[in-house]
């Protein structure tokens, strides 16, 4: 496989603090994500999914092991790894365009280039006409579209998404799943998508990685060989969903 | 819901309006256990009050006294009296007169002292003329010291406009330090705050108040009309004790000075120096007070100071002064 992201044997221990004993969040986790591949990571809550994503993003450092992107070791956050948070993390004092242009602005791109970029990604996520609205004026789904556009505006090699649709209602969630697939189809970035919703994972991903309960490690990897657009009522879809759900349930029982 | 909120608002407004008048009228004068006497902070002119306490003159007269204060300045003491929190006050004649001019029913029942103030200046200032554009502190506007500052300036062809005056915003006890640190160049004040700068060497007496106006009035004993009406025995007793104390000071300066030291916390040298300028007397010369009132009115009329007492309030100074002075309790 022409691999772009290599997560190699990562462990993460949070040292003991005043009130808490030391905890091991990740143990010997390894994963490779190919160019433009869509990978979902599912697992019981507390299995270290978010920690893993933050280590890949460079926001946390691994206690052991390494992350490489295109052969370069990841040591700090960088624009080549865009991240989308569950709670959107939009700048409330910036309008849609201002949020999308944040990355280019930090790189001191000229104004004309910045607005070209923001125009492109605002329309990619279907937010034309809302360019000058502020986050407080947007619905949850629209906020997440802006957050995705903002991450893409930095032209990352990989998009790290931490339960991005977790706070949306069911209807919006379905719409956003389809929108994400459309965007991914047009933009073809690699995506690591963390979710605790198995159906969502099977609907979106080319591969689903199931993690063990904490400390998190890879329990199993399930290729989803269904063609897009997928049907949730499809027999193959349902059986994969059940298989993965059973695998997670085993982990939950262990706790 | 909104109705009850309305009621609440009305109730609190009513309370707010009634409360102050309750506080003012709360204590009726006839059932007082102790006579409440006010005085000023560290003012050596009020020594008779402390001599009377030290020597037990009030007990001899069969009354119990509660000392209230010290007040920072005369106006505050007169306000407390107008509001009924004080029965008797040792205070400057000026705030007493001002309070009466504003319609507060009161009576001056004895003198305390004459003279005993001075214009103190730093060493660099040797004549009144040197005071031009200098910072000068005085007690409250309209006080005897404030008015006498105006008098001494005009005798030297200066006016308040030629100096930078701080009337009443530098407290008497703070004046010596402000002179020493060079914040002000001169101040006109009562004792012992003259003596403090003289003895420490940070200032000298530029003019004694007695050289501006020999025998000028200074502190007096004041009471509320209402108290006077209902407490004849107590007023008589206070005046007798006060009279004994003044006589004691005149007859026993050495012991009086020791009491003065105890009461002001100052050294013997400062009290000695201060004593040389104060004249303790119970008598009051009505004409001097008339002259003082007319002086304030005229200074206001000719624009030397902002009008403090007007002809509208006091059409006839003679009648006004005779109306508030009641010396019948002084024994001859």
């Amino acid at each position: 496989m022409n691999s772009k992201l290599i997560v190699d044997n990562i462990s993460k221990v949070f040292p003991a603090r005043k009130m808490a004993t030391a905890t091991q969040a990740l143990k010997n986790f390894s994963l490779e994500v190919g160019n433009g591949e869509f990978v979902c990571i599912v697992g019981p809550s507390g299995c270290g999914k978010t920690t893993l994503l933050k280590i890949i993003a460079g926001l946390e450092t691994a206690s052991q092991g390494s992350v490489r992107l295109n052969g370069n070791k990841v040591e700090a956050p960088g624009p080549e790894r865009g991240m989308v948070f569950q709670d959107f993390a939009l700048y409330p004092w910036r309008d849609v365009v201002g949020n999308v242009e944040f990355g280019p602005e930090m790189r001191y791109l000229p104004r004309s280039e910045r607005s070209e970029i923001s125009q492109k990604y605002v329309s990619l996520v279907g937010m034309e006409g809302n360019e000058h609205k502020y986050p407080a004026q947007l619905s949850g789904g629209m906020k997440q579209r802006v957050a995705i556009a903002r991450a893409l505006a930095n032209k990352p090699d990989i998009l790290l998404m931490d339960e991005p649709f977790g706070s949306l209602d069911a209807q919006t969630r379905f719409v956003m799943q389809n929108e994400l697939l459309r965007i991914w189809n047009e933009d073809r970035k690699a995506v690591i998508f963390v979710t605790h919703n198995v159906e969502e994972a099977v609907y979106l991903a080319e591969r689903v990685v199931v993690m063990t309960a904490g400390p998190g490690a890879v329990k199993g990897i399930y290729p989803i060989a269904l063609s897009y657009p997928r049907s949730r009522a499809d027999h193959g879809f349902i059986s994969l969903r059940e298989k993965i759900t059973d695998s997670i349930t085993e982990e939950v029982k262990l706790i | 819901m909104s109705n009850s909120i309305n009621k609440l608002i009305i109730l609190s407004l009513v309370t707010l309006l009634i409360l102050p008048s309750m506080m003012v009228t709360g204590c009726s004068p006839s059932d007082i256990a102790k006579v409440r006497i006010g005085y000023l902070l560290g003012d050596l002119h009020h020594l008779p009050l402390f001599v009377a306490i030290e020597k037990g003159f009030f007990q001899e007269e069969g009354i119990d006294v509660e000392v209230v204060g010290p007040f920072d300045a005369g106006p505050a003491e007169m306000d407390a009296m107008a509001a009924g929190h004080l029965d008797i006050g040792y205070v400057g004649a000026s705030p007493a007169i001002m309070s009466a001019a504003r319609g507060v029913p009161l009576a001056i029942i004895s003198g305390v002292n004459q003279e005993g103030s001075a214009l103190v200046a730093d060493k660099g200032i040797t004549s009144i003329g040197d005071l031009r554009s200098k910072k000068i502190a005085t007690p409250a506007p309209g006080s005897i010291q404030h008015i006498m500052t105006g008098m001494v300036l005009s005798e030297n062809n200066l006016s308040f406009k030629d100096v930078e005056l701080f009337p009443g915003t530098i407290k008497a006890p703070d004046m010596p330090l402000n002179l020493q640190s060079g914040r002000i160049s001169a101040y006109f004040i009562w004792e012992p705050f003259v003596a403090m700068s003289v003895v420490s060497g940070s200032g000298h007496v530029l003019v004694n108040s007695k050289d501006i106006w020999p025998g000028h009035p200074c502190c007096v004993v004041v009471t509320r009309d209402e108290f006077l009406k209902n407490n004849d025995r107590e007023v008589k007793a206070v005046v007798s004790a006060h009279q004994k104390a003044v006589k004691f000071i005149v007859d026993n300066p050495a012991e009086s000075k020791r009491i003065g030291q105890k009461y002001t916390g100052l050294g013997a040298d400062v009290i000695d120096s201060a004593f040389s300028r104060v004249k303790y007397v119970t008598g009051i010369n009505n004409n001097d007070l008339v002259k003082f009132v007319n002086g304030i009115i005229e200074l206001g009329e000719n624009g030397s100071i902002k009008p403090i007492i007007t002809r509208k309030e006091v059409p006839e100074a003679d009648d006004f002064i005779n109306g508030i002075i009641d010396l019948k309790y002084l024994s001859r």
Binding site: F85, F102, A151 | A83
Partner: protein, 234 residues
Amino acid sequence: MADLPQLFPTPVAVVVAFKDLLIAEGPAGLPWAGELIGNMLVSLWRVIVGFCLAAVTGVLLGVIAGWWPRARDLVEPVVEIIRPIPPLAWVPLAMLWFGLGFRPAVFLIWLGAFFPILSNTVLGMESTPKNLIEVSKTLGANSRQILFKVGIPSALPSIMAGLRIGLGIGWMCLVAAELTGSNTGLGYLIMYYYSTMEAAKMVAGMLTIGLVGVLAFIGLKKLEDRLVFWRELE
């Protein structure tokens, strides 16, 4: 009590006092402005200088202490000791250190306004949402950019609230400052007419302080609404 106008002036007397004070000659240097307006201008100037000093020092130190925990550990103990001392308690020292008139007044106003500005700024900086900082890092912002483009804008509502509170307290300290050691300003005006037992003029001075204070407050609130408009959008 009605016969004690020196304690309870009537509304009519206060209106007349207003008129008299507007006409009477103003303080030295501003005789043309009238006694009330002239002294108000003097006070206003003191408040503006003291408040601006407090705004600059309070926001600056607040940003530093709110952003770098180590700086906060240095600043906090000192601030916690000084903060509870009421500005009024500083009046004698202010006179000793700064003399009379303008400078001690500015010092006291600064002192009163500084702490609410400082602590609100620290609070605002400290409560910059962690996810905003993280997302900014992933978007390629360096630490200076995160401070200026994320931390400070995010703290702005809190900073503005601190400025508003600071202005109110500073305005109150002004009166305390001018009651002693001053011969101009609205506080002095009040003290003067307290001394001469002219309550109507005193009340007129007090109402002016209230009025100007409210106007300044409204002005700052307008500025705040404009700067942190995004708070009001929902």
